[in-house]
Amino acid sequence: MSATVAGWLQVALLVGALVAVHRPLGDWMARVFTGQRHNRAERVVYRLVGVDADAEQRWPAYLRSVLVFSLAGVLLLYALQRLQQALPLDDGMSAVEPSSAWNTAVSFVTNTNWQGYAGESTMGSLVQMAGLAVQNFLSAAVGLAVAVALVRGFARTRSGTLGNAWVDITRAVTRILLPLSVLAAVVLVLGGVVQNLSGGTDLATLAGITQHIPGGPVASQEAIKQLGTNGGGFFNANSAHPFEGPSAWISLVEVFLLLAIPFSLPRTFGRMVGDRRQGYAVVGVMAGLAAASLALATWAQARAGGAALQLAGAAAEGQEVRFGGPLSVLFGTATTLTSTGAVNSMHDSYTPTGGLLVLGNMMLGEVAPGGVGSGLYGLLVLALVAVFVAGLMVGRTPEYLGKKLGRREMTLASLYVLTTPALVLVGTAVAMSTSAGTGSMLNAGPHGLSEVLYAFTSAANNNGSAFAGLSANTTFYNVALGLVMALGRFLPIVFVLALAGRLAAQGHAPVTAGTLPTHRPLFVGLLTAVVLVVVGLTYLPVLSLGPIAEGLS
């Protein structure tokens, strides 16, 4: 079988699996977030935490819960890293340096999982398990909660409230993320992903060389790292490490895990707003963008672009033999289209066009399908922009799902759309104009600019993947990227929840002959165009100085 045919067959298998779980998982998530009953374990949690689980929150209270919870997460994670040498299971690691600890704490709480540090030489098992892996669950749960709150904004009529953040976060963990992670971890263990608490083995190789074989609770962490679109690897090489990605089929399972929830959430949305066709339109936009990006990237990576790669004969630098080209591109595309940032190949060594595409995937705002929760709320905000654009064309007040979009609503949507590009471009500009910023580049010329641009794009979009040649574990990058990650996560959440509050308070306008149907192919095309145009106009100048210049050179 030719490599090309095999490559597309593995895509077909992946798509089949995603289609198969779309309905059951999407419907299940809708039930989780609309159900009235609390199970026994949850009631125990609510009692321990001291919240009234049946009390509804208005949007400012919902927002305050989300922000306070995240702030507490940052503080705990920072403390764990700074004190790890005094705690058990430190595996001989010393306290993490302050700027790195700040960066990592923000990184994991914001679902970014940017890693300035190398896992196997920085973090002991306790920090990995009780610190980082816990935030893998909680940051994904927060994303789900915010998305659900926005969906309730569309679904509810003249309501002052959006639900209860504590309940949403708890249920996201107990009914979705934890059960699925256990299942996934079992599969990963059977596939050869390590899971022990031994701290590793030292041995003499066949040639008599001493080699350290690392250990750790890898499978349990890998499962939620993918499922929660987190992406922070146990090891520096992330899912390319043989203990995180021991075989090609396991790597394909990992791609499935990171796409499963984001691609099922539109179904949840459709169910909750009482019109499943709206969910199909949303998933249609996501799937169309993803398919186009994958096709382009596969094509680009198959032709060894770039002088050094042409000399090698293929884009094999930074790729594992067992995965091969097509699976490497599939993983790279999926991880940057979601907010995952895990890698099974090194994006810094991609061909110029391939590197441009994975960068562009993140610049789309990670809405195809995006991170757990954040992808859905990102695309819904862009849907409002699309409806607004259509309304301008025909001179009607824009409406989406019966909600009228006035000046306030569009202001919030616009602020949401502008936040990330502002963070990316300002951050990159600051880095490029200081020696602290430019001193960390590994490659010279346009590729060096791409490394910095990639870092800020990854941070602002909460992705976490890297053009890893950039030496990002410096005070400048730790502090700057930490700030960008925090603002890139929480400013949009503020805008989304404020928007949700305004929408929930409205009634539903009746559908008339003049209403733009938002479930038809016309709207799918319009929304796709809006996503592409917003991105294209924003980033084209800087892209032409970086990857485009490199591709043409």
Binding site: T170, V194, L203, I209, H241, P242, L442
Partner: protein, 200 residues
């Protein structure tokens, strides 16, 4: 009073965080560890491979087959170049860009070295032999890279190439399920088979 409400929220946040740390940070990984150690202890501990009771490596983690001076041992199939020198405590790739002059120099030097060592035409050296992997611990080489090493290994061990070629075939894995990933040759398994069948 918003300030008061925020204070109460903070208490709730810290408590939920502590509950989550116990359940998700300790309970969950320990439960998975228990399952793994019970059901698949070998895999959970890193698929270690032993010869005569001595652990010589992990079936999943690549290693260098070089002498003390770092020169390749002719009696063994060679792994790919590694950005970390097959250091198990420092995984990662080179991260050199597609137009990097450093990478171009490395590729040219590796091509010349492999061609000379294996006695083949430089044009026959496959891409994986001249590029570093993503992990720096790639346990596999392509069937093409194994093929150009057969004659050299056979000569070093004083056996017919056909004998070595048979062992290469035994250590070659196709795509998973027939279409996932890429065909690969497991280098440690192959070199262990050489030692076992033909003596060290």
């Amino acid at each position: 009073m918003p300030a008061l409400r925020s204070g109460r929220q903070l208490v709730a946040a810290v408590r939920l965080l502590l509950v989550a740390t116990v359940v998700l940070g300790i309970g969950y990984p320990l439960a998975v560890t228990g399952f793994a150690q019970l059901v698949a202890p070998g895999r959970a501990d890193g698929s270690l491979v032993s010869v005569d009771g001595e652990v010589v490596g992990s079936a999943l983690v690549g290693q260098a087959f070089t002498d003390a001076a770092g020169d390749p041992l002719p009696q063994y199939f060679q792994s790919r170049p590694s950005a970390s020198g097959y250091d198990g405590a420092a995984s990662g790739g080179s991260n050199l860009g597609p137009n990097s002059p450093d990478l171009a120099d490395l590729v040219a030097a590796r091509r010349a070295a492999v061609a000379a060592f294996d006695g083949v035409d430089p044009g026959d050296v496959p891409p994986d032999a001249v590029t570093a992997s993503a992990s720096g611990l790639d346990p596999d080489i392509s069937p093409a890279y194994a093929a150009i090493q057969v004659d050299r290994v056979a000569a070093a061990r004083g056996v017919a190439p056909a004998v070595v070629r048979q062992l290469v075939d035994d250590a070659t894995a196709g795509r998973d399920l027939g279409f996932v990933g890429a065909p690969h040759v497991r280098v440690l398994e192959l070199n262990l088979a050489l030692d076992r069948e033909l003596g060290r």
